[in-house]
C-alpha cells in the first residue's frame, strides 16, 4: 500500500473553488428563476453574475492547465470496462465485490466517470455558458439577425434545463464521490489532501 499523489494543488484548487461557485450559481440562479426568495432578486442577480464571471475565469485557467499538461486525456471516453462498472454499481457494490477498475496516476477516472465528467464538460457546462452569456448580453443581440430567429425565452429554457441537468449530475457526483470509497470517505480525502492509498497493482479503483 502506497500513498500516491493523485491530484495536484491546482486540480484541488480548481475543484473546490468550482464547487463553491457552482453551488452559489445554483442558489442564486433558482432565486432569479423565482423558485424562492432569500437574497432578493437584485442581489441574487448581481451575485449570480459575479460568480459566473469568476467561474469563466477559473475555466480559462483550467482549460489552459489541461491543454498544457495533457491532462485532458483523462476525459477521453472509452467503452472498455464501462459495462462492468455499471454492473458494479447496480449490483456488485451490495455484495462487497471489488471495483472492476484500477486507478493509476495516468488514468484517474474509471470509464463511467470519464463519461459523466465529459458530459458535464462538453454538454451541461457549455449549454449553461452559452445560454447564460446570451441572456446577459440580450440587449446587444436582440436587434440582430440572431434576435429574429432566437426568442429570449428559448435561451432561458436552455439555461434552466442546463441548471436542472447540473443539479442531477451534482447529486450523483456527491453521492458517489463522498460515500463509495474504501473506507467510504477515501475519495473525499483524496480530493482534499491530493493523496490516495493505492495498493500496487491490485490498487483499488476510485470513483467520484
Amino acid at each position: 500500500m502506497s500513498q500516491v499523489k493523485l491530484f495536484t494543488g491546482f486540480e484541488r484548487f480548481w475543484h473546490w473553488s468550482q464547487m463553491a461557485l457552482i453551488f452559489g450559481l445554483l442558489f442564486t440562479g433558482f432565486e432569479i428563476h423565482g423558485t424562492y426568495e432569500v437574497l432578493g432578486f437584485q442581489r441574487a442577480y448581481e451575485t449570480h453574475q459575479i460568480l459566473a464571471w469568476t467561474l469563466i475565469g477559473l475555466w480559462v485557467l483550467a482549460i489552459f492547465w489541461h491543454i498544457t499538461t495533457g491532462e485532458w486525456r483523462q476525459y477521453v471516453p472509452t467503452t472498455k470496462g464501462l459495462v462492468p462498472m455499471v454492473l458494479y454499481y447496480a449490483y456488485g457494490i451490495f455484495s462487497g465485490e471489488a471495483k472492476p477498475y484500477t486507478t493509476t496516476r495516468a488514468a484517474k477516472h474509471n470509464p463511467l466517470q470519464r463519461l459523466a465528467y465529459l458530459a458535464f464538460k462538453v454538454l451541461i457546462a457549455p449549454a449553461l455558458w452559452i445560454s447564460g452569456l446570451l441572456l446577459l448580453f440580450y440587449t446587444s443581440w436582440k436587434g440582430t439577425a440572431l434576435g429574429g430567429v432566437l426568442p429570449l425565452q428559448w435561451v432561458a429554457w436552455v439555461h434552466l434545463a442546463g441548471a436542472f441537468a447540473l443539479l442531477v449530475f451534482l447529486i450523483g457526483h456527491v453521492y458517489m464521490a463522498v460515500t463509495t470509497g474504501d473506507p467510504w470517505h477515501a475519495y473525499l480525502k483524496a480530493m482534499v489532501t491530493g493523496y490516495e492509498d493505492l495498493e500496487g497493482e491490485q490498487g483499488r479503483s476510485r470513483v467520484g
Partner: protein
C-alpha cells in the same frame, strides 16, 4: 403708452427676461427680483381695469406679438391634429369619462381656457383682447377665473357653491405679472376634471410646494423647478402634450443651441442615467421601460385623493327640496345627485402598458360595444414595437351615457340655465339631445341622437409622469421580476423571475427528486447489505 410704443425694442427684451429667469425658478410667487422691468412702474398698467380684456389690451401695447403667439398654442385652440393617427384631438373634440365633453358645457369648462368669453360655439378665436395673460403670469395668487364665467374672473365678489369667490384686484395683478409658476399652471392643471386632484393622479396642489419625497424636481428645497423648466415654452407654445407624447426619447442631453427634446427625462438625464453597477442592468432597461415606470412608484402621493371611478348612471337623486343629494366619506364626495357615484384613491399602484406615445381616441360617432368596457383612448404600442416602452398609467373607469340606438358615445348638456341642462332638470334624454345637437353644429360628429340613451362602461388611460420620487424610492427589481409582480398582466414577452416553462420546471424537479431518491435508496441498500456481510 406712447412712450413704450415708440420704444418697441423693449418687447423682445422683456420677453427674454421672462425666459431667462425661468431657469432659476426660485421666485415662483414673487415678482421677479431679477427682471429689468418693474411692471408696477408702467403707466399702461396703472388702471383702472374693468375687465380682463382691458388688462390684455394694456399688455399688448408692449408685448405686441404675444396674443398671436398664444393663438397658436393648444392652451388657446384646445385642438391638436395628431399627425401619427390623423385624429383631430384636443379638448374641443375628445370625450372623457369625467364631465364627458366641452361641447354644450362651454362656460363651465372654459373657466380653464386661456381666454375670455368662450361661452358658446360662436367664440372668436382670432380675438387678441380675449387672450387671458393674467391666468398664467399672475404672481400674486389672487387671480382666479370664475368657475362658470367662461374664462372671466369675477369682477365683484360672487358666491359659488357655498363660498364667496373674491374678485381679484386687476391693477394689482397686472402690475405684479411675472413668469409662470407651479401655482399659476396649477390653477387649472391641478384641478382638471372639475376639482382638486380629480383628473390626472400625478398633478394636484400638493405640487405647489412639494417636499422632495413627493417630487425631486419641483421641491423648493431642491431643484425648485417650475412646470416650464421641463415644458419649455417657445413663443408661448409649450413642449410636451398628453395628446402627442414622447414615450421614448432617443436623443441625449439637450444642450443649449440644440434642438431640445424636453420635457423628456432624457433631455437632462441622457440615455444611460444609472451608475453601471453589476452588468449595467438598469441602463439596459432604458430601451423597454420608461423612466416613469420605476421612478413613480405610486401616484396620488401628495396627500390628495384622485378620482378613480365615476358612475353617471346613478346621478339624479334629489332631496325633498329638489336639490341634488350629496354624500361624503370624510372630505371626499362619494355621491352627488348631479354627477353620480365616485370612488377615490391615494398612494395607488399604477397600471402598466406598452406605449409608443400615440393615443387613439374613441371620438364621437365611432361605434362602441356597450357590452364591453370601452377604451376612450387606446394606447398604441407593444413589446415588438421599438418605439414603445412600458409606461405607468392611472386608469380612470366609469359608466357614462351613450346612444343606445346608434351604439355611439354621447356628450351631455350638463351645465346651463335652460331646461335641457342636466344639472337643472336631471333629464338625461333632454341633456343628451341638446348635447348631440350642439356636437353636430360644431362638427364634432355627424351622427344624430337616436332618442334612446343607456349607460356604458368606459375607461381612460392617463400617463403618469409627475411626482417623480427620490431614487431610493424607485422600484426594486422584484416589483416586476416576480410571479405576482406589477407586470403580472403585461404578458406576451419573456421576463425573468416571472415567466417560465412549467414543463421544464416539472420535469426538472422530477428528475432531481428521482436522482435524490435513487442515491438514497442505493445508499440504504448498501448499508443494509454491508451489515449483513459483517
Amino acid at each position: 403708452m406712447k412712450r413704450f410704443a415708440a420704444h418697441g425694442a423693449w418687447a423682445p427684451v422683456l420677453a427674454a427676461c421672462f425666459w431667462l429667469a425661468g431657469i432659476g425658478g426660485a421666485w415662483a410667487d414673487q415678482p421677479d427680483a431679477k427682471s429689468t422691468a418693474d411692471h408696477s412702474k408702467f403707466e399702461e398698467l396703472a388702471g383702472p381695469f374693468a375687465t380682463g380684456p382691458d388688462v390684455t389690451r394694456a399688455c399688448l401695447q408692449c408685448h405686441t406679438e404675444a396674443a398671436e403667439q398664444v393663438h397658436k398654442s393648444i392652451h388657446w385652440t384646445w385642438n391638436l391634429d395628431q399627425p401619427q393617427t390623423g385624429q383631430r384631438l384636443g379638448k374641443r373634440w375628445v370625450v372623457n369619462n369625467y364631465c364627458l365633453s366641452l361641447t354644450a358645457n362651454y362656460a363651465r369648462c372654459t373657466s380653464c381656457h386661456v381666454g375670455y368669453g368662450w361661452k358658446d360655439s360662436s367664440f372668436d378665436f382670432s380675438s387678441q383682447e380675449n387672450v387671458d395673460c393674467l391666468v398664467c403670469h399672475d404672481t400674486t395668487g389672487t387671480y382666479v377665473k370664475f368657475p362658470t364665467g367662461a374664462g372671466h374672473p369675477p369682477y365683484e365678489d360672487t358666491p359659488f357653491a357655498g363660498k364667496v369667490i373674491k374678485a381679484p384686484d386687476l391693477v394689482q395683478v397686472a402690475q405684479k405679472v411675472g413668469k409662470t409658476s407651479r401655482r399659476s399652471c396649477g390653477a387649472c392643471h391641478f384641478k382638471g376634471g372639475g376639482g382638486e386632484a380629480v383628473k390626472h393622479g400625478d398633478m394636484d396642489s400638493s405640487l405647489t410646494d412639494p417636499p422632495k419625497s413627493l417630487d425631486v424636481h419641483m421641491a423648493p428645497d431642491g431643484l425648485d423647478y417650475s412646470c416650464s423648466t421641463c415644458h419649455e415654452f417657445k413663443s408661448h407654445e409649450q413642449a410636451g402634450s398628453r395628446y402627442l407624447m414622447k414615450a421614448k426619447s432617443e436623443s441625449g442631453v439637450s444642450l443649449p443651441g440644440q434642438e431640445s427634446n424636453r420635457p423628456a427625462c432624457e433631455s437632462c438625464h441622457g440615455q444611460s442615467p444609472h451608475k453601471a453597477g453589476v452588468g449595467d442592468k438598469l441602463n439596459t432597461h432604458v430601451d423597454k421601460v420608461a423612466c416613469q415606470t420605476c421612478h413613480i412608484p405610486e401616484f396620488a402621493r401628495g396627500g390628495k385623493a384622485t378620482k378613480m371611478f365615476w358612475d353617471w348612471s346613478t346621478a339624479g337623486r334629489l332631496d325633498p327640496q329638489g336639490k341634488a343629494v350629496v354624500e361624503k366619506q370624510g372630505d371626499l364626495v362619494v355621491y352627488d345627485g348631479k354627477k353620480g357615484t365616485f370612488q377615490w384613491g391615494e398612494n395607488l399602484v399604477p397600471e402598466y402598458h406598452w406605449f409608443d406615445g400615440n393615443v387613439r381616441y374613441t371620438l364621437l360617432g365611432e361605434t362602441i360595444d356597450p357590452g364591453d368596457r370601452t377604451e376612450l383612448n387606446k394606447l398604441s404600442g407593444g413589446y415588438d414595437d421599438p418605439k414603445a416602452r412600458i409606461w405607468p398609467f392611472k386608469v380612470m373607469r366609469g359608466r357614462q351615457p351613450y346612444d343606445k340606438g346608434n351604439d355611439i358615445l354621447v356628450v351631455g348638456h350638463l351645465f346651463g340655465k335652460d331646461d335641457a341642462a342636466f344639472w337643472k332638470t336631471f333629464d338625461w334624454d333632454k341633456a343628451v339631445k341638446a348635447g348631440m345637437e350642439e356636437a353636430k353644429r360644431v362638427g364634432q360628429t355627424t351622427a344624430d341622437y337616436s332618442g334612446e340613451y343607456g349607460f356604458a362602461d368606459t375607461l381612460m388611460y392617463w400617463p403618469l409622469t409627475h411626482m417623480v420620487a427620490p431614487k431610493d424610492q424607485a422600484l426594486g427589481c422584484a416589483e416586476c421580476h416576480s410571479k405576482d409582480g406589477r407586470l403580472a398582466t403585461l404578458t406576451g414577452f419573456y421576463m425573468p423571475g416571472r415567466d417560465s416553462n412549467p414543463w421544464i420546471d416539472r420535469i426538472g424537479w422530477l428528475l432531481v427528486l428521482a436522482t435524490l431518491a435513487g442515491v438514497l435508496l442505493h445508499g440504504l441498500v448498501r448499508l443494509v447489505t454491508r451489515k449483513r456481510q459483517a
